[in-house]
């Protein structure tokens, strides 16, 4: 590696350059319009899940904060967007912003708690917050519809022109554009000095304050950003499916997104994206009417990934290409 000889600025600049592979990846995301026009709904689900996984990657992959309750913010965004459209109006972008604001606000409040803890206490507190919100949403039947889900979400066309259709053409384009914009933001954050200090916190949370980095303030910032992104992902789901169920907040969703990120490779910007594609396509193909067997394969996969592929699919690929270049 020649990285060691670079100055930090040059390193960040080199990292921030768009590579041909990246450009090809984003162009390829348009392919479903021609290749799989019947699967556009699935494609929009994948884009939403990828955004959710990206938000988790920011805190888990880069700052090293393990969260078992990230669906809390996803669900907050989803319920906010759903309620806005049901009670105020169905304009999509303002719904997204409302979802982002609510999730971000709660995320900011929670970040003061999260930044103080590590290890088991952190895992338990994030898990507890997720469960708490699920119970809250369940008991506030008058607002959320409880177990029956939130009914009556109706979306207006985006910018009064693009109507949400049955095949998910608009939904996919909408989700993809939002995903891309937020991906660019995340990429900018990661390739900034702030992003570098996050990685420092992940590697050694005690040494970073000694180097002058305000660890807890950094953790609060990135946690809030991550909550905003998760909220937007949730809002997208509520708007594109026009329904919100309790499941958006549940432990299952938090666990799934963790699996997706680990599968793709945590601490890599494309990890969540690749993980979401593999996971969602596999689930669509294999789960069918027996979801419990799907979890058999997910569990086996997790065990194998932890033992043989510690950096996920992308980490494995990077290792392969590195050894191939050396040879």
């Amino acid at each position: 590696m020649s990285v060691a000889t670079l100055t930090p600025q040059a390193y960040l600049h080199a990292q921030a350059r768009w590579t041909p592979v990246e450009i090809a990846f984003w162009l390829a995301t348009l392919l479903p319009y021609w290749l799989f026009p019947d699967y556009l709904s699935l494609a929009s689900q994948i884009a939403i899940t990828a955004l959710f996984a990206l938000s988790l990657d920011l805190i888990l992959g880069y700052a090293g904060i393990v969260s078992l309750g990230h669906a809390a913010f996803f669900g907050l965004g989803a319920y906010t967007a759903g309620l806005v459209s049901k009670h105020i109006w169905g304009e999509p972008t303002s719904g997204l912003i409302a979802g982002a604001l609510v999730a971000g606000f709660v995320g900011y409040a929670a970040s003061f708690i999260v930044a103080r803890f590590r290890h088991l206490a952190l895992i338990m507190i994030t898990l507890g917050m997720g469960l708490l919100l699920t119970e809250l949403a369940n008991s506030m039947h008058w607002l959320t519809g409880g177990n029956d889900g939130l009914q009556g979400v109706k979306m207006w066309p985006i910018f009064n022109t693009f109507r949400f259709d049955l095949f998910g053409k608009t939904a996919y384009g909408y989700a993809l554009i939002v995903l891309f914009l937020l991906f660019v933001v995340a990429r900018r954050i990661i390739n900034s000095p702030f992003g570098l200090s996050l990685r420092g916190i992940r590697e050694n949370a005690i040494r970073m304050p000694a180097l002058g980095a305000r660890s807890r303030a950094h953790i609060r910032t990135i946690y809030t950003i991550s909550a905003v992104m998760a909220g937007i992902a949730g809002a997208l789901l509520a708007q594109t499916t026009e329904t919100v169920s309790l499941e958006v907040l549940g432990f299952q969703r938090s666990a799934d997104v963790l699996v997706i990120l680990i599968l793709g490779g945590a601490g890599r910007l494309y990890g969540g994206l690749v993980g979401a594609i593999v996971f969602m396509v596999a689930r669509d193909q294999f789960s069918g009417n027996t979801p419990q067997f799907w979890y058999f394969w997910i569990g086996t996969l997790l065990i194998l990934v932890v033992i043989f592929l510690p950096n996920g699919i992308l980490g494995g690929l990077a290792k392969l290409t590195a050894s191939w270049r050396r040879a």
């Binding site: 803890f117 338990m124 067997f293 799907w294």
Partner: protein
């Protein structure tokens, strides 16, 4: 009202004892190795299914199945410890969480494949059914049995930990693992044994739990959350802490569901978060 209060307290205590059996093993192993084992309740579920199978398919009496529930969970946990867990003692907690969640997923799927997703029917022997009245209060016989069993097991555990050589080694390893190694204690061996014992107790707890909470493949996750709450509130590596926390949570859960059913488990989660914020190492934890 007073009568029902007493009944709620008793039911809550019995439920707490069940949680204690399920969680004490995880508490001690977490305290020793800092290994986050989210598959703990999968071993408990195994114990439950062993009992169900022996009773319903082979017509064994309930009591005869209990030792096998214990043994099956203990033996399988030794196998897992040797083959999988061992590799990850020095890994990050994220890797440990992922591996053990993976095992829990697989266990749920396997249970659903063999037994289906329905609740397993169990017919308790006649002498454990019904209730008796003492001093005007009615007690479920099975709950009395559960409380008595748990108290005996607790006493045995405390005695073993306080007065045996093995117990002293375990306490030393929980207090300071590196120092214990330095003094020549075989921490790995002690850990493997504790792990098997803890999983065995979970298996026993799973078998005893069937009559109270039922048994289906979701058990591995539903009760994992309760167990984790008990462990993190009680403090790692503390049997007394687990006992107190399990009692508290059992009573508050039963009381909450009885008096304010619309809140569900909300209160319990709130209490856990507040307690952890006040004392991140748990009520009785030292770290």
């Amino acid at each position: 009202m007073i009568g029902s209060l007493f009944g709620v307290l008793f039911d809550g205590f019995a439920y707490g004892m069940l949680l204690f059996l399920l969680s004490v093993g995880l508490s001690v192993t977490l305290g020793m190795m800092n290994f986050v084992n989210l598959a703990h309740c999968a071993f408990a579920m195994l114990g439950g299914y062993v009992t169900v199978t022996l009773m319903n398919r082979l017509d064994w009496p309930f009591f005869a199945t209990l030792p096998f529930a214990f043994l099956a969970a203990a033996l399988l946990s030794i196998l897992f410890e040797r083959v999988l867990y061992r590799r990850l003692y020095r890994a990050s907690e994220l890797d440990q969480v992922l591996l053990t969640i993976g095992i829990a997923f697989v266990s749920v799927a396997v249970a659903a494949y063999i037994y289906g997703t329905v609740q397993q029917p169990v017919q308790m022997p006649a002498y454990l059914r019904g209730s008796i009245t003492i001093l005007g209060h009615t007690f479920g016989v099975y709950r009395l049995f559960l409380v008595a069993t748990s108290l005996v097991i607790t006493a045995l555990l405390v005695a073993a930990l306080e007065y045996t050589r093995f117990g002293a080694q375990v306490r030393a390893a929980v207090d300071n693992q590196r120092m214990a190694r330095g003094l020549g204690i075989n921490v790995d061996g002690a850990f493997a044994l504790t792990f098997a014992l803890g999983s065995g107790l979970a298996g026993l707890g799973g078998a005893l739990a069937i009559d109270i909470v039922g048994l289906d493949p979701a058990f591995a996750f539903t009760y994992l959350i309760y167990v984790l709450i008990v462990v993190s509130v009680g403090g790692l590596g503390s049997i007394g802490g687990s006992f107190v926390a399990a009692t508290l949570i059992g009573i508050s859960d039963v009381a909450g569901k009885y008096y304010v059913p619309q809140l569900g488990a909300f209160l319990m989660y709130l209490v856990m978060i507040v307690l952890l914020m006040w004392r991140p190492a748990g009520l009785f934890g030292r770290r």
